[in-house]
Symmetry: C2
Subunit: 141 residues, 2 copies
C-alpha cells in the first residue's frame, strides 16, 4: 500500500469551497437558521459575519434545545432569539495549506471543520466524507 | 506504514453495542422520537420494532420536513404521525464479522451504518468516528 501521495494532499484540494457551502449570518433570527438547515438538509452549517469572516457553527440541536420548554417546543422563541446568542464557537479550523494528516486528526471528533485564512476569512469546509473517500482510494493501491 | 493489522479488524470490534445505542420504536409518535433526538443530541438514531429487529433510521430532518407547513412548523402533527410513516429504510447494514475495508466503504456516504445479524436483529452501530480513529492510529505506525 503506497500512502505517500496521500500525505501530500492539502486541505484546499479536499475542501468544499465557500460558494458551495450553505451558511447563516450572526444577526439572523433562529427561525431563518432553522429554515436553512431544514431546506438544505444539513445537521449544522457555518456561521459568518457580514464581512464573511468565520464566527462558528449552528445546528438543529442547538436551536431545538434553546426552544425546548417544560411542556412543548416554544416556537415563538425562533423569531425572538438570534444566531449570535447560541452560535457554537468550539469548532476547530484548519488552513488551506494544512496537510492530510492534520485534516484527518481534526475530523475524528467533528463531522466537518472550517477552512479559514490568516485573517479569519472563510474559505470553505472540510468534511469527513472527503477524508474517507481519499483514504478509501489510497488504501486499495 | 503497516496497514495489515487494520485489514483484519472486524465490525464487531469497532461497533457501539446495542445497549449503548439510543433508539426509537416503529410505533412511537414523532413527538417522542424528536425528544429522544434532542435529549441525546444525535442527528439520527436507529429504529427498531418491539422484537428488537432493525427497521431503519430516523433523524431530525425527516421529522422537521414532515411538520414544515407553508407558514410555520405544524407542531400538532408531532403527536399525530408515527415513526413507521417516515422511517428511512435506505441505510446500508453490515454484519459483525465484516472486515475493515467493507466497513470503511459503507461509511463514506453515511455517518453511521447498522450492524445486524442474519435474522435481522440489531447488534449495534458502526460510526464514522470509530473508522477514522482506527485509520489515524494505523497511519502513523
Ligand atoms: N444533500 C446531501 N446529499 C448527499 N449526501 C448528503 C447530503 N446531506 C448530507 N449528506 C450525507 O450525510 C452526511 C452527514 O451530513 P450532516 O448534515 O449530518 O453533516 C454535514 C453538514 O453539517 C456539513 N456540510 C456538508 N456539506 C455542506 C454544505 N455544502 N454546506 C454546509 N454544510 C455542509 O458537513 C457535515 C458532514 O458532511 P459529509 O459530507 O461528511 O457527510 C454527509 C453526507 O455523507
Ligand atoms: N454526545 C456526544 N458526545 C461526543 N461527541 C458527540 C456526541 N454526539 C455527537 N458527537 C460527535 O458528533 C458527530 C456527529 O454526530 P451525529 O449525531 O450527527 O451523528 C451520529 C448519530 O446519528 C449516530 N450515533 C453515534 N453514537 C450514537 C449512539 N450512542 N446512539 C445512537 N446514535 C448514535 O451516529 C452518527 C455518527 O456518530 P460519530 O460518533 O461518528 O460522530 C459524532 C461525534 O463525533
Amino acid at each position: 500500500v503506497k500512502l505517500l501521495p496521500l500525505l501530500n494532499i492539502t486541505a484546499e484540494s479536499l475542501m468544499i469551497p465557500s460558494e458551495k457551502v450553505a451558511h447563516v449570518q450572526m444577526n439572523n433570527p433562529l427561525e431563518h437558521a432553522l429554515l436553512i438547515l431544514v431546506k438544505s438538509g444539513y445537521s449544522a452549517v457555518p456561521v459568518l459575519d457580514t464581512s464573511y469572516k468565520f464566527k462558528g457553527t449552528i445546528g438543529k440541536n442547538i436551536i431545538l434545545n434553546r426552544i425546548l420548554g417544560l411542556e412543548r417546543f416554544e416556537m415563538e422563541k425562533l423569531s425572538e432569539v438570534r444566531v449570535d446568542e447560541v452560535v457554537n464557537q468550539t469548532i476547530p479550523c484548519v488552513q488551506k495549506q494544512d496537510d492530510f494528516l492534520t485534516c484527518l486528526k481534526t475530523v475524528i471528533d467533528y463531522p466537518f471543520v472550517c477552512v479559514v485564512d490568516q485573517e479569519g476569512y472563510f474559505d470553505g469546509i472540510l468534511t469527513r466524507r472527503a477524508i474517507l473517500k481519499q483514504l478509501n482510494k489510497y488504501i486499495h493501491v
